[in-house]
Symmetry: C2
């Protein structure tokens, strides 16, 4: 019986490990592969033959893995280039050496390009007994050919929860005190994450990359909000930019006490604009930074369950010898009223290197937030709270495999 | 039957409302007071006779209140000054007008000063039928005369959880990539919050206000850590300062209405030092900012339960006509092996305007973290996860009373 490799790539998410857990569990339910090997640090570690054997993971380990954020197998930013044939040959040789029939690659659109290029290479070279299958993940929700990307909903839930809580925080002082709160989220090209803050229903001003930043309009909206209720809650994507493409965060360097230039994030730059315009003397900035992609305490049950099942679906489909160059995808059912999904397969090269933006038609004019339709799209995704296994007062987590001395012997 | 007022002051926490909920519930179990009035925006709103009637809150509302972060009654930074007799007279008159026998004030050490000064004023003026009782809260854990302050543990749990998760995040890339992660916490004078990150057991370098910032030693520790394992996880208090008292974040410092410095930015300053010293080309900074005091999703069950019971204890003790000028406190039991507490009372003026620092003897040398004794002190406080009532995928929250049109008619 041949083996399979699972590896992870790109930025972490709160549920990327659930897809890994799904593949492992599916192989226990129906052992298509003799061994499920975890590839350490994505394609980069596979090229170095760094593997762990995950075949016999216990149910408890599997449950803990599902609730562990970030990539338990480690990640990489290494990208296969189609003209670097050496890498492709090496991967085929390693797969042969370890008797690996299928490589599951969990990641974003760069990873889908890896899947597509490996599968193209195999086809061109008449290698028919190797399959390459992509499992999507990205908190940014900017993947094409899928209703929503696993990982997005848990980040959205964290962002919306934090927005609500920070809004509670900023409002506690008497209304005479003017105050602007700015929440900065990730999202270089796509505004999904920033928009998800609107699930809290308290966002006054929303700035996403899909609409050029217009200083005057934004400041006018904030000023009018402050005049009306003395507080204003702003959400801004890190990728907010001017019409010429310059990032808001690329604003002027300021010198700190030590004479060093300090570049602020988009939120800090906006705060400075607000000070300069005399709109409010108080601006607090909360940059969610890394926490928004790894704060698994806000895992959405829908998200983690779908991610797990997506892994199972990928494993089950992979028994078809012709199933290669595909990404397993999620389609929202339209034949039923309540929210439900079905798993499908799409060609990986239709996902690779595309970006799906937040629909501009879902944005209200003048940076005033999002439409009801957008809320209806996102709301079902953040439902449910998984039971979290705790240890010593903190969530129990899988110790990352890339840190363990448990790599399998090189054959 | 006379009435009581409950009000909240100072910065928000994840469990300050649990103390309010405890007072309300205790009065339902044993109606000492005809009405439990919520004072809006602390002493400032009381002076304006802004009240809501909380007497008949339902059990569901009470449960939701306990899980709602920040101050549902609003807060203030208004401080009674002992030489401003007008305020004191006005408060006594308002209490008489509304037939209020007891004022419960939930807050930090500024609030305990309010309790002490009101009680002193009443004593001096032979006003014997008014009682002033303090209920402690502060995420900073810097109150004297108490084992630990309600609110600290939930923030500690959020910080330690986030530290663990961010550490997972920063480590996913191959070990050849050098990277420093800097987590910045609140804590102007006391390092409790920063130290609590060490509950995650992954902190390499810890910088708190209790030990002067020593640039050379800190950078040397980070450099040695990077050389050893190519990653380094640093936690720094916003109040980290040089021997002459200058804050590390001095470039960003401003003063608030009380003349306290508004901090934030120590992490960014440190990142710049790391770049300048050529230790690592990658430094990520996560400033937990407001989220650490209002991210109620990480409420510790121990913390929220103790806060609730502390409110009940304050209410029950207040039936004693002589119980005034006191703060209800928490003492850790030493007569049993497992963690347990008892509630006591201390003079509010022994708490007011003091700061309890993180014990220097609990700090390891050269900014290397904290001792096992410190961990043993904190670990029991973060235990347990409350069942959270959800709505639409987000935690159900009490709509702040200061935003409602439900103020009671002025008599």
């Amino acid at each position: 019986m041949a083996n399979c490799i699972v590896a992870q790539s790109g930025g972490p998410s709160s549920v990327i490990n659930a897809t890994l857990a799904g593949i492992i569990k599916a192989n226990q339910l129906n052992p298509i592969y003799g061994r499920v090997l975890g590839g350490i640090n994505g394609i980069e570690g596979i090229l170095q033959e760094r593997f762990v054997d995950l075949t016999k993971m216990t149910e408890y380990e599997n449950l803990v893995l599902r609730q562990t954020p970030s990539s338990a197998l480690g990640s990489c930013r290494y990208k296969l280039k189609r003209d670097n044939l050496e890498d492709f040959e090496k991967i085929m040789n390693i797969m042969e050496k370890y008797d690996v029939e299928t490589l599951f690659y969990i990641g974003g659109n760069d990873s889908m390009d890896t899947v597509a290029s490996l599968s193209e290479y195999a086809a061109k070279n008449h290698i028919t007994n190797r399959r390459f299958i992509g499992c999507p993940k990205t908190i940014d929700n900017d993947l094409e050919q899928i209703d929503h990307a696993p990982g997005f909903a848990s980040s959205a839930k964290f962002i919306a929860t934090t927005a609500w809580q920070c809004w509670q925080d900023v409002n506690v002082y008497p209304s005479s005190r003017k105050e602007v709160f700015i929440l900065e989220t990730m999202g270089r090209d796509a505004g999904w994450l920033a928009a998800s803050a609107c699930l809290s229903e308290i966002v006054d001003v929303l700035i996403v990359p899909e609409v050029n930043f217009d200083r005057d309009t934004v400041l006018e909206e904030i000023r009018s909000c402050i005049e009306k209720k003395s507080k204003c809650f702003v959400v801004i994507s890190e990728g907010a930019h001017y019409p010429d493409g310059t990032y808001v965060s690329a604003g002027e360097a300021r010198n700190d006490l030590f004479g060093h230039a300090v570049l602020g994030g988009a939120g800090k730059e906006l705060a400075q604009m607000i000070y300069d315009a005399g709109i409010s003397e108080r601006c607090k900035v909360q940059d969610l930074a890394n926490a928004q992609r790894c704060h698994a305490s806000e895992q959405s049950l829908v998200d983690v369950t779908e991610s797990f099942r997506l892994g199972m679906s990928a494993h089950m489909r992979s028994s078809d010898p012709k199933f290669t160059g595909k990404m397993v995808s999620i389609r929202r059912r339209t034949d039923v009223e309540e929210y439900d999904v079905e798993f499908t397969a799409v060609d990986a090269d239709r996902v690779a290197n595309f970006v799906r933006n937040f629909p501009v038609k879902w944005l209200l004019p003048d940076f005033r937030g999002i439409t009801e339709e957008a809320i209806e799209y996102m709301r079902p995704l953040i439902q449910g709270t998984p039971d979290i296994i705790m240890k010593n007062g903190l969530p129990e987590h899988t110790v990352p495999y890339y840190m363990r001395d448990c790599e399998i012997e090189k054959l």
